[in-house]
């Protein structure tokens, strides 16, 4: 099943299927290891539209909600 990163429950993980966005956004996410095929796990989503915290390659990364909505994850 494919979900947006924002729709994952805390603790749920999966594989990045697509990152929808311009080259700038793609490059910024890539520099932190967020590329298609990468396994990630959502750790937490802060209240009231705050950032989403994910674990990528044993590193925690905080991603703004708008960016997180552009990341499609295959899980389950």
């Amino acid at each position: 099943m494919e979900k947006l990163l924002t729709e994952l429950n805390p603790g749920e993980g999966g594989t990045v299927v697509a990152v929808q966005g311009g080259r700038g956004l793609q490059a910024r996410l890539r520099s932190l290891g967020l590329v298609e095929g990468q396994t990630i796990r959502k750790l937490s989503a802060l209240a009231w539209g705050g950032p989403v915290v994910v674990e990528i390659k044993r590193t925690q990364v905080a991603i703004g909600r708008g960016m997180a909505r552009r990341i499609l994850v295959r899980c389950g």
């Binding site: 490059a27 890539r30 520099s31 290891g33 590329v35 705050g50 950032p51 925690q60 990364v61």
Partner: protein, 634 residues
């Protein structure tokens, strides 16, 4: 003048570096891998190193001895890749161009995250060594790396180091000096996609869409290659859940995290107050009367050590003489008052050493703990939502916190923010509504004599001003604000050594650069009083100062002195016999009115001439309105 740039080591402060900076050894790596710590070890130049990405916002240069000659070492700002996405990457690409040898600093605990840039660097065909930093942390986490295999595969030497303790640094230097320094500016055929002048892009007409396509393919190849490499050289043991892991989970939890943030902020402010007050009065307590008072503190020191000889000197000179006025100042009820007399030897020593220094020590101790533990990026993540609502970025909290110590490094740190608009707003807010530790020490010392209420009124007003200006600027500029995207470092126990270095740098910067300005300010005030110039100035400024702000006309003097130093300026309110209301208005207006000269210089340098003028215009409007509003409300 008075720039407290030296505080941050010998950081080169130009926003854009010279096109060419020949260097023998260049340290390159991703943010927060410990380049600055290694740099200090190599050169003996002490720089500020902390546990969050973006500590080094510009590059630092130092010298070391090696092979019988002096080598120039440059610490590049941290960057995730050589794609020139931000200022840090562009600076790094320029520096690599001029480098003879490169040390690529890599985090051993996250090889797969760091090796892509290592491959990019190798493609630059410069003599290079890879330094695997944090190898102690890797051992703790059960990560072992086959360095021989890694070195053979990459084709460059690999050395493991622990930068804070210096373990392996000697071997690293030897390996680096064994490299043949090659000629600067070597062409390069394997593609790295930056706007690098010496890289041949394979696209024939240079501007076709195939160039972007090429970059993408190249990236995929790099990531695949790194995956295989890591598979080959790294073995992982099962990692046990540690206490730090639990704490990390807790501090990003939506509910518990906000509690943690509240507790950390409350604890930090209380601790600053507790240590500061103890160092001044010997009293232990946070609010109101201290619980215990020990025979300790700068007040006692001045009373016991300086008062007797100065009283003798005062009698000898005779009150009213010019020398008495300069050295001792005016007597209050027939005796010297260190806060109010305003002579060079009385207030001139007591304000910086007796009041400001204790608070600076206390503030920077607590700030360094926060910086080194790794909590600050988490706080930024937590506040991001709130900060975006008022038009700021979560990461803006870091420059703002630094600004609570001294506005100068605070404004410089706004470089970690991506957009120009963000930098402008954050820097402007710092210069207007964030009181530096020196000013805060005086607010607590002077306004605090009238109780905790007036102190809270001053802080509360400044906070409201900060909030309102950012909201107004947000609606004035509806440009899209970039979202937060930041790596959160693991919690680390701050080391005493790093803490001591940082405190020493910051405090000695104050003594070296602020002390002369403070003494100059006091001399200037006394000379001007003697010449009766202030009566004239007071007349000119009277309409605003008296009618709008409800202050006595003489208050114009402290406001003008505030342009030199805010702490001295607030001290000048002491002899004016202000009412509680006037003292609150005076403190707020002084905090907001013209930044001190050092901040002024940095503000214009960081924002440019037009940006600086815009910022000053906002300041003038804000201070006029705030003072007037307080006069009506209170």
């Amino acid at each position: 003048m008075g720039k407290r740039v030296a505080e941050e080591g010998t950081r080169i402060a130009e926003q854009r570096p010279r096109k060419h900076l020949e260097n023998d050894i260049l340290l390159v790596g991703q943010p927060n891998v410990g380049k600055s710590v290694l740099f200090s070890h190599l050169t003996g130049v002490r720089t500020i190193a902390s546990n969050y990405p973006g500590t080094t916002v510009s590059y630092a240069m130092g010298r070391m001895r090696g092979k019988g000659r002096t080598l120039i070492v440059v610490d590049a700002p941290g960057t995730y890749s050589l794609e020139p996405l931000d200022e840090a990457a562009r600076v790094t690409v320029d520096l690599i161009d001029d480098a003879k040898r490169i040390i690529n600093v890599v985090d051993s605990t996250h090889l797969e995250r760091h090796l892509p840039m290592t491959l990019e660097l190798i493609a630059q065909k410069k003599p290079m060594v890879v330094a695997l930093n944090m190898s102690d942390e890797a051992r703790h986490r059960g990560i072992s790396i086959d360095m021989e295999k890694l070195s053979a595969d990459l084709g460059v030497p690999v050395v493991s180091i622990v930068a804070p303790s210096g373990e392996g640094v000697k071997q690293l230097v030897d390996a680096c000096l064994d490299l043949q320094p090659n000629q600067v500016s070597v062409g390069n055929e394997s593609g790295h996609p930056g706007h690098h002048p010496h890289i041949h892009h394979p696209s024939p007409n240079g501007r076709s869409g195939s160039s972007a396509e090429h970059v993408h393919l190249d990236r995929d190849r790099i990531w695949r290659r790194v995956g295989e490499l890591v598979e080959k050289v790294q073995t992982l043991e099962h990692h046990h859940h540690t206490f730090a892991d639990r704490l990390e989970e807790l501090s990003i939890h939506p509910l518990w995290g906000s509690l943690v943030a509240l507790v950390v902020i409350a604890l930090s402010f209380s601790l600053v107050r507790l240590i500061g007050e103890f160092l001044i009065t010997g009293g232990i307590g946070i609010i109101g009367q201290p619980w215990v008072v020990l025979p300790f503190g700068t007040e006692l020191l001045f009373e016991k050590l300086l008062l007797p000889p100065l009283t003798l000197l005062s009698r000898f000179l005779g009150p009213g003489s010019f020398l008495h006025r300069m050295l001792i100042g005016t007597l209050v009820q027939g005796r010297i008052d260190f806060m109010q007399s305003f002579g060079i030897l009385t207030s001139g020593l007591f304000i910086p050493i007796g009041v400001v220094l204790p608070y600076l020590l206390s503030f920077y101790f607590v700030l360094s703990l926060l910086e080194d533990s790794g909590y600050l990026p988490r706080l930024a993540v937590f506040l991001d939502n709130f900060m975006h609502r008022i038009g700021l970025h979560g990461y803006a909290i870091i420059p703002t916190l630094l600004g609570l110590g001294c506005n100068v490094p605070g404004i410089m740190a706004t470089r970690i923010l991506e957009s120009r608009q963000q930098r402008f707003v954050t820097a402007t807010l710092i210069s207007i509504a964030v009181p530096c530790a020196a000013l805060q020490a005086m607010i607590i010392g002077l306004v605090g004599r009238r109780g905790i209420g007036p102190v809270l009124a001053v802080y509360g007003t400044l906070f409201v001003v900060w909030l309102l200006i950012s909201l107004i600027l947000r609606f004035a500029n509806r440009e899209f604000q970039p979202e937060l995207l930041v790596e959160i470092p693991p919690y680390r126990l701050p080391t005493a050594r790093a803490l001591a270095t940082k405190m020493w740098l910051r405090i000695s910067g104050f003594v070296r650069e602020a002390l002369p300005i403070i003494l100059t300010a006091i001399v200037a005030v006394n000379v001007l009083y003697q010449l009766n110039l202030f009566t004239y100035l007071a007349k000119v400024a009277e309409p605003v100062v008296t009618r709008v702000w409800g202050m006595p006309a003489e208050a114009v003097v402290p406001l003008l002195v505030g342009i030199l130093r805010k702490d001295v300026a607030l001290g000048l309110f002491a002899p004016l016999a202000l009412t509680g209301k006037q003292l609150i208005i005076g403190s707020v207006v002084l905090a907001m009115f013209f930044p001190c000269i050092a901040t002024f210089v940095v503000l214009f340098r960081e924002l440019g001439f037009k940006g600086g003028l815009k910022s000053i215009a906002i300041m003038l409007l804000a201070v006029f309105c705030t003072g007037g509003a307080l006069n009506l409300i209170l």
